[in-house]
Structure formats: C-alpha cells, structure tokens
C-alpha cells in the first residue's frame, strides 16, 4: 500500500488536487463513482494493458456511454484526445483531456467465458485460486449488478490502451504493442458516473498466454473548463453535447467553472 503510493507520486503529477489512487492487478474488475469535476487517470504500468470500461449516469442509470453516437459525432472509429465520450441522451459523460497512448479501441467488445476457455484453456478457482481465468463479459456484469444494473447494460464498451485497425475491406486487425509502460489517459468527467472496469486481455489479443496487465487509477480535481477547452472546440457536435450536459445540471453553459 505505502509502496504503491510512494511509487506513483511522480508519474501522476498534474495540476489540480490529488484525491485518491488505487492499483488494479491484471484480470481484476472494479467499479465506483467518478464525480463530475474530477479527472480519472488510467495508467498502463507495465505496457500492453487493456482496460474495458462501461459508464452509466448515476442518476438516470439507463443513460450510458454510447459507442455509435460517440464515433459518428466525431467522425472517428477510435478514441483519443480531444474526443468526448457521448451518452445515448446527447450528453458528454467524460472528455479525453490527455492521452500519451494515442489510440483506444471501442469496437472490439469483450471476451466471454467460452472465448477465454478456447484461447487459454481452463483455470478454475479450485485449481488456481485467485489466478483463475477471468473474462470481460462476466467481470463487467459482476460490477454492474452492484449498482442495480444488469446484462442489458453491457453495451459496446471502450478498451483503453488497445488498438484495432479496420482495413478498407472492413477486416479488423488487432495491433500489438500499442501501449508502452507509463502511458496514461486522463478522463475529465462531465457527469456523475458509475464506472465499471475489467483488466482482462482484449478479446482480439492473439497472445496465447493468459497474461493480463496491471493498471493504476488516480483521481484528481479537474481544472476550470474554459470556453476554449480543446474538447469543447474539437467539433461543433462536442460543444452542443457539452451544452446539453450543462443544462441537464441546471448550469449556464457559458459559465466557466
């Protein structure tokens, strides 16, 4: 515990107040509330991590991260700075304000029990205790249920630090070694959100070994959001979604706060 905290203080420096930090081993699942006005930093500690994420509005839980709306509005098939992550209700759930990796997948989906078993074989709790093989679908379902959510909330998810390229004929290629040790992505939350995470390997990762990588979560206080914020300015669509989000919270979108 103290070792973690000591290790981390250097690479997690950023303007704005530090709030908390937590280490997630590979193959773990996690969920929690990330408040608007804070920044969640995901750090790939060893390189080649994969972090599958789902996000829901804590107040209106069936408002959730929507992959098609996010991609269409920003004319992109992957996520990086200064993209915003849109919900199905025309609002922003979080904004990508920093990214040292450059490409994050949101079309590859999750691994399942049967695909993990086919690829890596069987390792149960009975034979391996806590090193048993996890899969993305069951891991996220487990976390969703803690918040009164269920399988219908397993939507197309984000896979942070993973890259899937689409060729002109539509074929999908997993690009290995997309992320190196120390890469991080900073997500400024614009909405109070339930965030569910799984650190199981990407379902298209061809590596034959089950070897999911650890990550680190750090939460900071966000800086004031100015009118010239790069995420807001990225596209007119982003500013309109930001407008929708501010008025949802009863705030004037032109106020900088």
């Amino acid at each position: 515990m103290t070792e973690n905290t000591a290790n981390l203080s250097q690479k997690t420096t950023r303007p704005g107040g530090f709030i908390w930090q937590e280490h997630l081993p590979g193959g773990a699942h996690w969920s929690g509330i990330i408040r608007r006005g804070t920044v969640l930093r995901l750090t790939d500690i060893e390189g080649n991590a994969n972090v599958s994420m789902l996000m829901n509005n804590i107040e209106v839980k069936n408002e959730r991260y929507n992959m098609p709306d996010t991609l269409k509005a920003q004319k992109t098939a992957f996520l990086t700075k200064p993209n915003m992550c849109f919900t199905d209700m025309g609002r922003v759930i979080c904004s990508i304000i920093e990214d040292t990796c450059g490409w994050h997948d949101t079309i590859g989906g999750l691994s399942h029990a049967k695909s993990v078993q086919q690829k890596y074989g069987d390792k149960s709790y009975q034979t391996a205790h806590n090193d048993y093989f996890k899969n993305g679908y069951d891991s996220l379902l487990n976390e969703l249920e803690k918040w009164g959510l269920n399988a219908s909330d397993i939507m197309p998810n984000i896979n942070w630090f993973s890259k899937v390229r689409v060729e002109d004929d539509g074929s999908m290629t997993y690009v290995p070694n997309n992320s190196s040790a120390g890469n991080y992505v900073d997500l400024r939350f614009e909405m109070d959100a339930i965030v569910c995470l799984s650190t199981v390997q990407h379902p298209l990762d061809p590596a034959p070994e089950y070897n999911p990588k650890p990550i680190e979560l750090t939460v900071f206080k966000a800086d004031v959001i100015k009118k010239d914020d790069a995420c807001r300015l990225h596209r007119a669509e982003n500013e309109r979604a930001y407008y929708n989000t501010k008025i949802y919270y009863g705030e004037n979108p032109n106020d900088e706060c």
Binding site: G90, G108, S152, M172, Y243
Partner: protein, 214 residues
C-alpha cells in the same frame, strides 16, 4: 418482382413498412426473413432479441469481432450478447450493411445537427413507440435499457485504416434485398429510418417490404 424466387405458398407474413415507421415481428427458428429496399437508398435500423428471453439480443461488437470484419454481408452470422448465433445472412443483393453507426435519436439529432432538431422524427423514438405498442412485449416488457447498438441494413459507414469514420451515400438500389435465416425464435424490432439530415437514405425516406417464409 421482388419476391420472384419465393414460392407464394411458403410465405407466412409480408408487409410494407412505410417511410419512417416502426415495425416488430417474430421470425421462428428455421424461417427466413427478407428486407426489400423497395425504392433504394433506405436505411433499416434493426435489433434482434431471443423471442423467449429478451435479455439475449443482437450484439454489434461480438458480431463484427467474431467474423473479423465490420461490414455485414452474405455469410455473416449475427451473434447474440451470449455469443450464440441468432441469424445468418444467406442472401444479399446490396453487399454491405453497417453495424457500428447505431440509430439516430432526438437527443443525438441535437448534437449532430442543431439543438432545435430534437423534434424531428428519429429511429430510437420509433423503437420506443414499437416497444410501447406491441402485444408481443406484454408479458416481459422491454424498455429503453434494452436498446443496444443496432444493424443498419443498406447503410454504408466506411472506416479507413487511420480510423476515420464517415457516412456515405447508400450503395443500395430499388429492389435490392438482404435475407437471413433464423437460428432461434427471434423477435425483430425495426425502425425504417426517418432521418432527413444525412445521406443514409438519400435525404428521402422510402418504404421497405418485410417478408417471412418457411
């Protein structure tokens, strides 16, 4: 013309869905389901559910990943969220269908076009209208939470290797169709897209025909 090669005795259901309308119907395991783009360039937003357990449904990401390609065409197996085959596309005279572009909504209209376009007709409103009206939904009601990422039949959403995504004019034409065979009793939920702001249906929504036969 459009059903020239379907034996009329084998047709169990057929209906024209007018421009902008929702539609919901069940296709039984082993039956075939054809959507005919009557006038061309239409986008047909479609969701599939296991008719006996709506929590099992079409999954966009599982479908494209399992086939290793983001476009749907003949041979594509539409996977459920439990990784079970729901339907297989057995015939396709269009050649490409989208599964990452999703459905338009009142709320996304405000983001994509203008705040005041909220009140235009949209696919997710059509889905919700169908869920609210269909008797097939009486025993186990489905809600907005059951709407996942859908297929857009006849729609063209090209992605480039550098990750750029765009909406292109449709590649369909009058009379083109896509045909599927069901592996399980499947509930089909459709919005015949009313979108007037992008080229997915040539800025001119038109009717489609649904044919189910055995």
């Amino acid at each position: 013309m459009t059903n020239a090669n379907i034996d009329a005795n084998r047709i169990v259901y057929r209906e024209v869905v007018e421009a902008g309308d929702p539609w919901m119907h069940e296709v039984k395991a082993g039956q075939r389901f054809r959507i005919v783009d009557l006038e061309g360039n239409q986008a047909v937003d479609t969701l599939f559910y296991n008719a006996h357990d709506h929590s099992e449904r079409y999954s966009a990401t599982d479908t494209i990943r399992e086939q290793g390609n983001i476009y749907l065409t003949k041979g594509s197996v539409l996977q459920s969220n439990l990784l079970n085959p729901m339907l297989t596309i057995v015939d396709d005279t269009c050649g490409r269908h989208d599964t990452i572009g999703g459905a338009c909504s009142a709320e996304s209209n405000t983001v994509r076009y203008a705040i005041e376009k909220r009140h235009m007709h949209s696919c997710r409103d059509s889905f919700l209208t169908a869920l609210g009206q269909c008797e097939c939904n009486a025993d186990k009601p489905m809600t907005k939470g059951d709407l996942s990422s859908n297929i857009n039949f006849f729609m063209n959403v090209p992605v480039s290797p550098d990750g750029h995504l765009d909406f292109d004019d449709g590649i369909s034409a009058p009379g083109r169709y896509v045909e599927m065979e069901a592996h399980m009793d499947t509930l089909i939920l459709v919005s015949n897209c009313p979108q007037l702001n992008n080229p997915c249906n040539g800025y001119n929504p038109t009717p489609v025909e649904m044919i189910i036969w055995k």
